[in-house]
Each structure stands twice: as C-alpha cells, then as structure tokens.
Symmetry: C3
C-alpha cells in the first residue's frame, strides 16, 4: 500500500526550524498503513529535513554549525549569476539533504524519546512550503 | 511485506564506529523478503548511520572531520542549558542523519565491494543502543 | 512491487556532478509502478547522491564547500596506509551519503521545479559507475 500526502508549512526562512513529528504521525494514522516506511521529502532546493532533540540549545547550535561551515557572508557563484542572495541556502540544503525515511510499526513512528523530525527552511525569506509524506507498507 | 527487527549495539560513545553490515544482511535472510529496501534507523538524537570503507585510515579521517567541523571544545548552547556536555554529539548526529536506506535483491545487499554500513555513536559516554531495521519488499 | 534497475554513469572524478533526474524518471516509467519510492543508491565508498538546483553557480559553490570542509591538500590517514590519494573522497562520500529516497506518484517524481537529483563522484580519477535504482510501490 502507498499513500501520498502533503504537509503545508509557513516559514520565516533563514534556517527556521519546524518540529513536524506530530503531523507526520497524524498522517500515518490517516493512511491506514499499520507498518512500513514514511519518507518526508522537501520538493525544494533550499530546504531540508533531519532529526534532532527539539530544544532551544540544540536548535541554536544547529544554526551556528551552518553559519560556520556555509557562511552566508562570503561570495557565492550562485548569487553572482542570479542576484537572489540565497547561494548559501542552496548549499546548506544539498549538504543536509531533502529526504528522511523513518520506520513505523503498529501505526507509531519508531523514533527515540528525545528525537523529533525537523523541517529546516534555509531560504533567505519567508516561504509557504508543501512537503511530501509518502507512506509505504502493509 | 514489511518486517521490523531490532539490532543491539554496545558502544564506547565518542564517535565509536561499528560495522553492522553482516548483521543487516542476516536480518534480510531472516525476513523472507527477497528484494526491496532495508532502512537502518537510529532512534536517538546523538547517533547516526552512513557507509564507508571500513579500514582504520578512513575511520580515523572520518573522526577528524567531525572534530574539525563540530569541535567538542567550543561552547554549545545545549551544554549551557543541560550540563551534559554532549552538545557536539547532537549536532554531529543531526548533520550526518539517523536513517540509511539500502536496496537488496535476491536476499543480498547491493553494496559496493569496499563499502560497509556503519553505525556511529557520537554521544560522550558508552551507550547500549537499539537500532531499527525495517525491511520492505516482495 | 519491487523493480531493481541499474544506471551507468561515466565520470571524470574530482567532484564531477551529474544530473540523473531524467534517467531516474525513465526508469520509473519502465517499472510499471505508479506510486511509491525510488531509492537511488551508490554502491561505492567514494561517491554520493543528493539534490540541488543544477546551474553552474550552485555546482561551483557545492564544490567549494567540499574543498573547504574536506580539503584534499591536508594529510589523510587513508592515504598514508594505501597511497591512492583519495582519502578526502572517502570522507566526502560518507558525509554526504550514498542513498537518496524520492517519492513518486502517477509515475512522476515529486521533485520541486528547480530541484534535480545529482550523482557526485568524489574519487580522484575518472570512473565507470553503476548506480542502483530500487523502485518500491503499487
């Protein structure tokens, strides 16, 4: 069985981080698939998905990492060509990745106690995003 | 068909790296699924999974990368709030990612000759870990 | 339903980046699976897969990121042991990851408008690569 659903997220951009765990769980319940995989996919080249302990310290440290290794202040070839100033957003998104696959069983996500699914919008302005939640299983 | 299994791993923490390839292959044989996908998932916010050539040079270089880009010696907001000293572990795990999906066919993982599946425990102390192996296929 | 296919790619190595989106879409059409997941997998420890906006600015910035955070000019333990000079290739591939899972529906990949699937060969010489495309769905 395959169930395709979409999740709307309004973001502020600039490495805005959203905990989408509850919404992914709700979609699994709606899907009538008991056990399998859910792939959370960002159909975008400036946003990404991973897991983290969703508390302000970790979120701040996560943003600092990307400011350090993909610094928005340095020159980007993308910006020179297109002038939209989000060259760093593209590179951050490509590094972290647009896809996360999480197993579930008996209709429950098999996450750790302190582990949440996060959607990260790296773009340099607010965006209305639509994520794909693809549920495959029995 | 969906088969959910668990894999116990005892680690030393501190970027301890375990080759779990043989155990993932054994689980595919047990599952009676001939072809499909296996998702190796870390239900934790301080560990992660990827592939590498499992030889001491690569393992040492891999640890050096994380010491450089997510240096445990600098301040972390997580540590200031919680005092557990593993702020770098959380950020490393979020960057590398908790999920790896590997195809298999005729009950064999479709890995490269010099490619192994590794579980990496970034936490700052020994841990007893339980990974999820979700097998989906025919 | 599970369909296993392979994709041949001739590369120049040295972070050569190939847009494989059209070939992945063609394989979904051949598979006769209407909706599900396709996992693009690199059976190699020196190449990786992600998505990006495939334009020269982004590609140049992406290469610069890896030159900065996994600099080929510094010493690598792998090179000291094996003398093949591709220690940085292994570490880059392990960081970016060998696996990408993309949802599709009505035989179409659910990618963003400006988002392409890229195969990145980090090895330090030209290679003939064979990627796995595993299609699972209905």
């Amino acid at each position: 069985m395959v169930n395709t659903a979409y999740l709307q997220v309004s973001t502020n951009g600039n490495t805005d981080i959203h905990d989408i765990t509850t919404k992914v769980e709700a979609e699994i319940l709606r899907s009538e698939v008991a056990s399998g995989l859910v792939t959370v996919f960002c159909p975008s080249s400036t946003s990404a998905v991973t897991t983290i302990e969703f508390e302000n310290g970790c979120l701040s440290d996560f943003r600092s990492l990307f400011d350090e290794i993909v610094n928005p202040e340095r020159p980007y070839a993308h910006n020179l060509r297109w002038g939209d100033g989000n060259g760093h957003s593209h590179i951050r998104a490509a590094l972290l990745g647009p896809s996360l696959t999480v197993p579930f069983s008996d209709r429950k996500l098999l996450l750790g106690t302190w582990q949440q699914i996060i959607f990260v919008d790296f773009d340099n302005r607010p965006r209305q995003r639509r994520l794909v939640l693809q549920v495959v299983g029995d």
